[in-house]
């Protein structure tokens, strides 16, 4: 589904990704772990198409297409979803209208008929329960006045409604208490199936207690320095990042 080869990316003059390789198959959950500044969020943003990142070398292939050539909205139409580390507040833009417009933009791209208001409400009703999304939040402006946990839950709620093929969760666990973490994890787990892939970007092993990854990668200084199964995360938890850096050196 996703194939990243020798990816190099800069912000301004600073090189952040320095030859990253990653291959994700349909149905897999990959965790990417690493210390602060290792390039985790840069990877997530480059994949989603945020401005300000300069890809200097390497390729990213998504479902046979050159992902890097697509606009952010084209990536979303093609089934890519980024759950933001810091979801943006947008005063004056209604949360539920945005979600309906997003769903219909994707459906239009796929050549499906667009949903009317009734059909759309039917679709989101079930999804709201999974992440315990409060109805009054739905009718507010996007993320405006939401608590940190509510923002993250809104991201997962949007994800569950949009049903992406590839979901990238950028530090979705940061700033969440244990109850919120469980709800968010439940939302992610409910979406897991043999066709959908997930990339979990996280600093802590804690999230992986609730969302079991198939593969764990350790990112350090812009490269993946170790890959393995869930045991890698446990080892990291026990020994810290220094150990793995030394081992890789």
């Amino acid at each position: 589904m996703l194939n990243i080869q020798d990816l190099h990316a800069k912000i301004g003059n600073k090189e952040i990704l320095k030859g990253l390789n990653l291959s994700v198959n349909a149905g897999e959950v990959h965790a990417i772990m690493g210390p602060n500044g290792s390039g985790k969020s840069t990877l997530a943003n480059v994949l989603a198409g945020r401005n300000g990142y300069d890809v200097t070398k390497g390729t990213v292939e998504y479902e046979g297409k050159n992902l890097l050539k697509l606009l952010p909205e084209e990536r979303a139409w093609a089934g890519l979803f980024l759950a933001f580390q810091y979801p943006v507040e947008i005063p004056g833009v209604n949360n539920v209208y945005l979600l309906k417009a997003a769903v219909n933009a994707v459906r239009k791209y796929r050549g499906e008929t667009e949903l009317d208001a009734v059909e759309f409400l039917g679709l989101i009703k079930e999804k709201m329960k999974v992440v315990k999304m409060k109805e009054d939040l739905l009718n507010r402006s996007v993320n405006e006045g939401f608590s940190g946990g509510e923002k993250k839950r809104n991201e997962i709620f949007q994800m569950s409604v949009l049903e992406p093929k590839l979901a990238i969760l950028d530090e979705t666990d940061s700033g969440l208490d244990i109850d919120a973490l469980k709800i968010v994890s439940k939302g992610v787990n409910s979406l897991r199936n043999e066709k959908r892939s997930v990339i979990l970007v996280t600093h802590y092993q804690r999230l992986l207690d609730y969302i079991k990854p198939d593969h764990v990668h350790v990112l350090s200084d812009g490269k993946i320095i170790k890959s393995g199964g869930p045991e890698v995360a446990l080892e990291l938890e026990e020994k810290g990042y220094d150990w793995i850096k030394e081992e890789a050196a």
Binding site: L71, A76, F81, V88, V93, S141
Partner: protein
């Protein structure tokens, strides 16, 4: 008269004035106003008040000041610009001339007078003599003097004390191409009795892309505890010039809400002058200007806090595109002895193109020591983080830009409590934005 002023077409205005042949009690005021205008000529940019707005396009053009002319306007054309389904009292003017046929001035609510100015001058002399020309100062702006010289068409509204008028009064000034370029000088007077309440909408609308000049003046007198909600919607043709002057004098505990929406016009100047002349008077001024192409829109406001415990709140927002230019100048004067007043002012601007330009200037003059005043001005562009967030949610870039622009403008409009007007204005704002298939997902349409 110098040759220079002659070339400004001033003689043209004088000639048309001489043809008016109105002989009534106001004629002395008209003549002295014309004299003032002849002496001062059009304002130039050396004057501080006109520093950023060059009115040469107006003064160079030879306009006819005889309203009406040859144009006919059909009911369908008028229906297209009416408020959909709004139950209101309507006063319609076409090319400056009152249209009895299209107006709905029969069977008005008890305690309400709505008349064409010419009729009112004949019928309500005592009341008009007390208020007309008393709040708009011919000496302050040559355009006001010019308007006073030509007082004949316009709207007179009087609400008697202790009366609440439920239906909004919608005044439509419609302009359409005629056989010569037209200057019209609508003059409105709104007199609100003690403890009365009303809603008035002034709409200035170009029905095609004609080149004309609207020079409007509105005077408002609020008696104690009167409440007026005043909306001005400026949708002149993009080839038209619009100079509008709103002057308000407020008595004790009265409240004025002014909403000024400026969308059309090639060259536009809106002036609002509020005088808070007794304790407890409150003025709220909201404004939205959206400009594109080479439009020039200037909003000048001035509030005089003449007495203690008066309150002013001002919020103006601008959205500028193309090579357009906008000016905001908000003056607040706290006079000596006007203690415990509150004045809040804010002007926020969104620049959508590199070639658009805004000059924003808040001015505070305070001659009292126990006051609460705050003002601020911002100029910015669309937020990149918001744009990316929307695009990552499958919203195409053009829709995302329109949506954020709409959200910026709507922060003003969404506060309007009266739904039919709010919806109409939201509809107009959406109409100013690039039309995309997706944008309608975000509106009630």
């Amino acid at each position: 008269m110098s040759p220079e002023t002659m070339s400004d077409n001033i003689q043209n205005y004088v000639n048309d004035f001489n043809q008016l042949k109105i002989d009534d009690w106001l004629d002395e005021s008209r003549h002295s106003a014309l004299k003032l205008f002849k002496e001062s000529g059009f304002p130039n940019s050396k004057l501080e008040n006109w520093k950023y707005t060059d009115v040469r396009p107006i003064k160079k053009k030879s306009f006819s000041n005889v309203p009406g002319l040859t144009t006919s306007v059909g009911t369908e054309e008028i229906n297209a610009v009416r408020f959909n389904g709004l139950d209101c009292i309507e006063v319609v003017f076409i090319n400056g001339l009152f249209s009895k046929e299209h107006s709905t001035l029969v069977a008005l609510e008890k305690g309400l007078v709505v008349e064409n100015m010419l009729d009112a001058l004949a019928k309500d002399k005592d009341l008009l003599a007390k208020h007309l020309t008393k709040y708009a100062d011919d000496k302050v702006s040559p355009f006001t003097a010019l308007n006073t010289a030509f007082i004949q068409n316009g709207t007179f509204i009087n609400v008697v004390p202790n009366t609440v008028i439920e239906k909004p009064i919608n005044i439509l000034y419609l302009s359409k191409e005629s056989n010569s370029a037209l200057a019209t000088h609508p003059r409105n007077l709104i007199v609100m009795g003690e403890n009365s309440e009303a809603t008035v909408i002034e709409s200035y609308i170009g029905l095609d892309d004609a080149n004309y000049f609207t020079n409007a003046v509105t005077e408002v007198a609020l008696s104690p505890s009167a409440i007026l909600k005043h909306y001005k919607i400026q949708q002149e043709s993009l080839n038209a010039y619009h100079i509008g002057n709103l002057n308000i004098r407020q008595d004790k505990d009265s409240k004025l809400e002014s909403h000024s929406i400026s969308l059309g016009g090639a060259l536009v100047r809106n002036d609002i002058h509020g005088q808070l002349a007794a304790e407890g008077a409150e003025i709220i001024m909201n404004g939205l200007y959206m400009t594109g192409d080479k439009q020039h829109v200037d909003n000048h406001t001035r509030v005089d806090h003449l007495k203690p415990r008066t309150l002013s709140t001002e919020n103006y927002r601008g959205v500028l595109n193309g090579k357009s230019r906008a000016v905001f100048n908000g003056k607040v004067i706290v006079h000596k002895g006007a203690q415990k007043i509150e004045a809040h002012q804010n002007n926020a601007n969104l620049l959508l193109s590199d070639d658009a330009e805004i000059d924003t200037k808040p001015e505070l003059e305070i001659y009292a020591d126990d006051v609460k005043c705050a003002h601020g001005a911002t100029v910015g562009q669309l937020d990149q983080n918001m744009l990316f967030y929307l695009r990552s949610r499958a919203i195409d870039e053009e829709t995302a830009r329109s949506l954020l622009t709409y959200a910026f403008a709507d922060e003003l409009i969404s506060n309007i409590s009266f739904a039919p007007i709010r919806n109409r204005l939201e509809h107009l704002v959406i109409g100013q934005l690039p039309d995309t298939a997706l944008i309608r997902e975000f509106t009630n349409e």
